[in-house]
Symmetry: C2
Subunit: 152 residues, 2 copies
Amino acid sequence: MESRIDTIKQQLQSQGYKLTPQREATVRVLLENEEDHLSAEDVFMLVKEKAPEIGLATVYRTLELLSELHVVQKLNFGDGVARYDLRGDSSKHHHHHLICVQCGTMQEILDDWLGPLEERLAQEYNFHVLDHRLDFQGICNKCQEKESKQGQ
Amino acid sequence: MESRIDTIKQQLQSQGYKLTPQREATVRVLLENEEDHLSAEDVFMLVKEKAPEIGLATVYRTLELLSELHVVQKLNFGDGVARYDLRGDSSKHHHHHLICVQCGTMQEILDDWLGPLEERLAQEYNFHVLDHRLDFQGICNKCQEKESKQGQ
DNA sequence: ATCCGTGCAAACCCTTTGCACCGGA
DNA sequence: TCCGGTGCAAAGGGTTTGCACGGAT
């Protein structure tokens, strides 16, 4: 964990940015909640527990900065708020989402199923893929059970 | 085209809604620009040409209504505005997007490459897929050419 | 007379920005 | 003394909502 902070510190410094206490607190929150997809507000509230004097604007600025440096990935599930995901190892950033339209939960699929498609895109469409996003909307496990129980 | 309006009219009426002049004008704009992914503002401006007295709120309400009835699909490319797509035939709604991060253009792929994946999801994750979205971010054909010319 | 649908403007929410201030090089 | 980074509050942009009006049933 400390090593990952160091890595990020170096990424910042290599571009002329500092790992300020506020930025470090923000990064730590992201590291500690790596499984979630936190919104800026989520991050803000969690950071406030450690560093109560921090401002929301700083969190936004930090997330924006980390996003530009590709330390985090900005996600958008269409619910009106941006969410932020640490890009761990390069292998981790290719994942997909199952979004339940009933209960709103979101599950991740860590496999990357799109490698072959990206090749096909390069060949057929001359499109150089930098990133992709694959989200499925549907009804999750639990909501299906609930439905069938309530139904009859 | 008239037949498609009729179909939509029936979809509305079956749920107790009317195809008002404003709604019809909105639907016609969507039909006439089926290839594009119009934002609410886009639709508003185009509808205004035909029905200058219409209000933006009505357009939003109409698009929301059509979205609930699955006449249109609300899309979100992460650029901060919702976009709306007519769901033509069932075959048409499964498509993917190539979004160029340099020039912002968006190209559609009409193939549906995800059929097998959806089956796999149902089996492995017990997730009932209603819809999906697959967007690729990258550099398009033309921007690649520009880059290589400018580069050296 | 009721009620859905509308236009307008205000409210809303998330996000960005202007500005004065601080603290390290 | 710079200058990047910060907190605060205000502004911004897209979207939603409250409200009174109008038109169809």
